[in-house]
């Protein structure tokens, strides 16, 4: 037998799934078009990229000229520059790339649906996410639970007040290797993924108001404790979307980017350039807005009752 016959060349998704995929994409475009939102496209290849500590960008370079850049992990920065330039409400369906994320619910190249609403707060945006999920998944009901309440109910702790020592002990007892020496974010991330998330059960659940340390690009709301206007949407325990009441203050944004870059240097991961164009756009004035990114492949997986991303992608990273 020749090698060509043995190589697995067939797609990972059945044709029926690819047809369902196309129908879902068309309904999503219909949903946003009816709401008067503008579909946009922004570059996948940019000179800067996210400074998030736990998201790694592919860096590419031409072997002859040295020209290159970063493949985008999300279109967030460019879409905010469009908003600052007066685009009004916008949405985008695009590819995003993240190094090393491979698993049942991860593929290093994936499809993302991201949209921004200058006229909505983050609670209003949750309503819209619910409307979209009703359209695609026919989910009739939804729950909203704050981050603090979710931890109190499903992990039995107050994530804002618990001491680091107690948190580490709990992570260790629940099977986190090196849990005794873990930091606060590692323990909370571990408990969210392995205790809270599986306990959320079937249907749509929003978790909102995250700790300041996990604000990412969300604006803070003062209070005791101060919380970040950030939410995540889970369907049947699968993390599907992440949204913010967007940070619009250029000084605060610059301070966060600097802190990220310093932390990257401190733990020895590759530096990324400062996103100066985003900061310039914020200085010019990003209108108050809320934005959300939704994992399209995961949505299609849930809509078609498929078991993994690989079974809704024409070719997953191992087949591509």
């Amino acid at each position: 037998m020749s090698e060509g016959l043995k190589l697995e060349w067939r797609p990972g998704a059945p044709v029926e799934t690819l047809q369902a995929r196309a129908r879902i994409l068309s309904r999503i475009r219909g949903f946003f078009s009816e709401r008067g939102m503008l579909e946009v496209e922004t570059p996948l290849l940019c000179g800067t990229t996210t400074s998030e500590l736990h998201i790694e960008s592919f860096s590419i370079q031409d072997r002859n000229s040295g020209a290159g850049g970063f493949l985008q992990t999300s279109p967030e920065s460019c879409m905010k520059r469009l908003l600052a330039a007066g685009s009004g409400p916008i949405y985008q369906i695009c590819k995003a790339f993240r190094v090393g994320e491979v698993g049942r619910l991860h593929n290093p190249e994936f499809s993302m649906l991201e949209w921004y609403r200058p006229d909505l707060g983050y609670q209003g945006l949750m309503d819209e996410v619910g409307d979209l999920l009703y359209l695609i998944l026919k989910l009739r009901s939804q729950r909203r639970i704050s981050y603090g309440e979710a931890f109190r109910r499903y992990a039995g702790i107050d994530p804002f007040r618990i001491s680091l020592a107690s948190l580490c002990r709990m992570a260790h007892e629940n099977g986190l290797s090196g849990g005794k020496e873990a930091d606060r974010e590692q323990c909370l991330g571990f408990l969210l993924s392995l205790q809270v998330q599986p306990a959320l059960g079937a249907g749509l659940t929003f978790i909102y108001d995250f700790p300041a340390s996990q604000a990412a690009m969300a604006r803070m709301r003062p209070g005791v404790p101060a919380v970040a206007e950030r939410f995540e949407a889970y369907v049947d325990g699968v993390e599907l979307a992440n949204g913010y009441g967007e940070l619009t203050d250029p000084l605060e944004q610059e301070a966060r980017l600097c802190a990220d870059l310093e932390r990257r240097a401190a733990i020895g991961i590759a530096p990324v350039p400062m996103d100066k164009k985003l900061l310039a756009a914020l200085r010019a004035g990003l209108p108050p807005c809320a934005g959300v990114a939704l994992g399209l492949d995961r949505l299609i997986m849930l809509a078609t009752g498929s078991a993994s991303l690989a079974s809704v992608l024409s070719f997953s990273s191992t087949q591509a």
Partner: protein, 189 residues
């Protein structure tokens, strides 16, 4: 000893966990939104067979366990230990009673077994999935009763006692599934 990073984890990989050799059964990549990635791993402790779950921070590395599976021929038992031989190199290995465990009741001399070595010494012995053994003792057979589903105990040549259909007689050879300890069929010569 080599170390394996979480991005090399896959089922079958052997790691040292809390001083014991373990094999990965399942490996799941878990990543909370913006947070650190984890590998959630289901492991079997190769010394005692117990299954446990552990979660590793992505990028963490674990010491590899020097564990290999060899096809070895069972030679003989000398009371304390069972002796096995590599039929290619003629190298012999002595396995303790604890390592052989229940497998002992299914194997007879010259059978090929999968012997798991840890640091060069037998850690566990697995019988072939199916063995053929002769019945040395059972109540007289009920000829013709092939359908009632009733069973009776029978002792086979290795000393193991299994449930067999009523028609089975002394001197017959039986095919047995060692994973369940159940009778499969009679073996016609």
């Amino acid at each position: 000893m080599a170390r394996y990073s979480t991005n090399e984890f896959k089922s079958g990989l052997k790691l040292m966990i809390d001083g014991d050799p373990c094999a990965i059964i399942e490996n799941e990549f878990v990543k909370p939104g913006k947070g650190q990635a984890f590998c959630r791993v289901k492991l079997r402790n190769l010394k005692n067979g117990r299954v446990m779950e552990r979660t590793y921070k992505s990028g963490e590395s674990m010491e590899a366990a020097d564990v290999v599976d060899l096809d070895l021929q069972y030679l003989y038992a000398d009371g304390e230990e069972c002796h096995f031989m590599d039929t290619n190199s003629y190298e012999q290995y002595a396995a303790s009673e604890a390592a052989v465990g229940d497998t002992r009741k299914w194997i007879k001399e010259e059978d090929m077994c999968i012997v798991t070595l840890w640091n060069g010494a037998p850690l566990a012995v697995a019988a072939p999935n199916f063995v053929e053994l002769e019945v040395t003792d059972t109540d007289p057979g009920l000829r013709g009763d092939t359908a009632s589903g009733a069973t009776k105990p029978a002792t086979v040549e290795t000393g193991a006692v299994i449930r067999v259909p009523l028609f089975v007689e002394i001197g017959e050879r039986l095919k047995i599934d060692t994973r369940t300890g159940e009778y499969v069929s009679r073996v016609k010569d």
